[in-house]
Symmetry: D2
Subunit: 239 residues, 4 copies
Amino acid sequence: MPCGEKSTGGPRTRVVLLRHTPDPDRVCAAAAASCYSASPASAIDPRLTPEKMSRTIHNAVGRGHHSVLEHAVFTFSLEGVSRAMTHQLVRHRVASYSQQSQRYVRFDTPGYVTPPEVASRPAAKEAFDRAVSDAWAAYSKLVGLGVPEEDARYLLPNAATTNITVTMNARELLHVFGLRLCLRAQWEIREVAQLMLDEAVKVAPAIFEGSGRPCSGGPCPEGAEDCPLYPGPWGPKEG
Amino acid sequence: MPCGEKSTGGPRTRVVLLRHTPDPDRVCAAAAASCYSASPASAIDPRLTPEKMSRTIHNAVGRGHHSVLEHAVFTFSLEGVSRAMTHQLVRHRVASYSQQSQRYVRFDTPGYVTPPEVASRPAAKEAFDRAVSDAWAAYSKLVGLGVPEEDARYLLPNAATTNITVTMNARELLHVFGLRLCLRAQWEIREVAQLMLDEAVKVAPAIFEGSGRPCSGGPCPEGAEDCPLYPGPWGPKEG
Amino acid sequence: MPCGEKSTGGPRTRVVLLRHTPDPDRVCAAAAASCYSASPASAIDPRLTPEKMSRTIHNAVGRGHHSVLEHAVFTFSLEGVSRAMTHQLVRHRVASYSQQSQRYVRFDTPGYVTPPEVASRPAAKEAFDRAVSDAWAAYSKLVGLGVPEEDARYLLPNAATTNITVTMNARELLHVFGLRLCLRAQWEIREVAQLMLDEAVKVAPAIFEGSGRPCSGGPCPEGAEDCPLYPGPWGPKEG
Amino acid sequence: MPCGEKSTGGPRTRVVLLRHTPDPDRVCAAAAASCYSASPASAIDPRLTPEKMSRTIHNAVGRGHHSVLEHAVFTFSLEGVSRAMTHQLVRHRVASYSQQSQRYVRFDTPGYVTPPEVASRPAAKEAFDRAVSDAWAAYSKLVGLGVPEEDARYLLPNAATTNITVTMNARELLHVFGLRLCLRAQWEIREVAQLMLDEAVKVAPAIFEGSGRPCSGGPCPEGAEDCPLYPGPWGPKEG
């Protein structure tokens, strides 16, 4: 299966494109063209030339006719990500999620994500690792004392890893990429968004080429004065 | 492309399954299993036996864990349906639509759906056909007088045919089938829902087998006293 | 109840603001401020000065932090609008609708909307009125022949009036106003959107002041080349 | 402001009903009635007798015509709840959330929720309190070392308290109450759901009376065999 990985100091984050609508660019273009045609999408679909297909997608994206991009749907398996990240991710409501449960799964050994800002400072890294280790020891102790896993997990840190299956259509993905690839977005969700985009663009180039940060290095569309032009662990996207 | 048709007196209604998530039963089962597992969906996906897959889907549907069914997504092209029907259909909000525009497409010849209750009564049928023909003549006259199509179409009847591309996930489809296959549902949307179900069950049997009317011939879950047990043009589903 | 009206040649279109979240500007500002505060919204709410409230809303809107505007919700009763208009309106999915049913209500006398492009041309107006009248006569004839209302209504034109109750939050309203007040939007939904905005801005000035067409007379954000700068029946918004 | 509280061992959980649609029962009843009437909702609204209003709501809920309940909207401030709880809560997608940010707010002193299953076991309680205290000490140490708050918070436990403003309509609330008041639901979200219901029923009795657990002590609608009939901290709802 196609996937991308990043090692973030702790276990590896993996993003796997588990499924997607076959020929996603084409179905969106056919749906878009059918709005202005006597013919239905099923008749237009096999007839579209590659040029016409690209132009139709390009026009739809450029003109704000984004609803046609909803016919292309992508399912990702996000693995080894932190619950700090997923708590942000699941705020995107036009999407479907199935997440590993901390109520029903027992976590016997520590699995956690270490932020680059921590990993790059030896004293911080040491304190971080020890604190995580202590949290897991306390979790195990509580379970040993008869506390249900779903209550013992109140001690697990935001850094704890989780797996989550995510289904989003291309319109929502473009929206998420615009927000989460911004240099001011939280680093882990930015990393995950980039891995998702890397996979999506391979199978739907007409839709996703050129997508990403809304600024493209120009003035911030949000008028931000606090943009991290030199954002430490990541560096400018171009650099 | 797989499709189903019904002739309703006017032009043919066609329902084409244009795209769907590959192997839809399996991806939903993998996502469901990953919630209770140390393994992510990408690892579970290739390992699921057919029996385990069916049982997982069956449990998810039976226990109300419906969110896992959202990872399977289906795109239909509905063709030659009436705008009376689509005005109802688009009220289902957890779905994506691209519809043929009456603002931008000129309709030179009448295309319309005739209700079975009209088609079965010769006097009604004659009045119906004449009225539709008159409406189209007036539409064409207005266009000839320089009225924009988008305004002339105020005269077109609810019966006028349209094409619409619809994307829904399996959870929403089950919800729609439950509502719209009910014998008290409006006949045309019931017909379209049945054609959609006929296609969906072929590619996702574990999800859709047994779906349909919620009553299954038993007492009405809505407590209705006006259920058409002998609903004329359709007959009981079992009959 | 606060309301606005427009006469469009046929019966009067009325837009009534039926309900709204009390003190809508304030609750959104309190929710926004609580994201960056040790205090919860219930503590911030009574303490916000008018200046701080306006500034918080202004920043949220300007910076793209639009989710906080979802806490202000508005319920409108749209009356005497055409089904051509409502078929477009209900495509906005982040909203709640309750619409007068053509299945269960019998329409004994013609009620319809006449487009300005028709009303302004005497020959077109005459043809339009006659066609509508004929459609209603045929509808009544079918009902008299025993055809159910829900089937006879296949003859009713797009112009037929309907009533619909609509609930939307402020974020979605801003989105709808941006799309539907555009001079290229269909005239009737533009008219209704303007009447809705006129009511909303009275009770939530901080949120809605300055909202409306995204172009404000500048270059089209959609890159349109067909903008009706002199759109006939309406005239430029500024004029 | 109307509110309810529960002490869960740590800081107090508070649920404040911050805003709601005025006269929520009535607006839903008027919208429901308008679907079957020649009159619009604005005309029906002031005319409804209390009996007619109750009966209309009762019929809508009983018959599955739930969409009319979407016109009544409620905004709650949930305070002192754990992030374990909010990660579940925000999975309900037909709702609006504004949550206290762990990226932008510094948490100098421990604020956390203690599960009853922990609080009732002295040894577990001691280990829990110490683990939380250690986590906060490590968080503060990282911040002192120059690690940004948004990264130091990777150490904060699921038990950490947060504030969140939640807006939901009555239809979604009924859905959430059905799921989350189930005795098998996680204890904290069950507690919060009960406090929300306690407030909602005061202002919308016709909608919310009788809502709650779907089982009402009868057989489980999910066919569960693991229902905690004696669920410790809560006891059966009836008991």
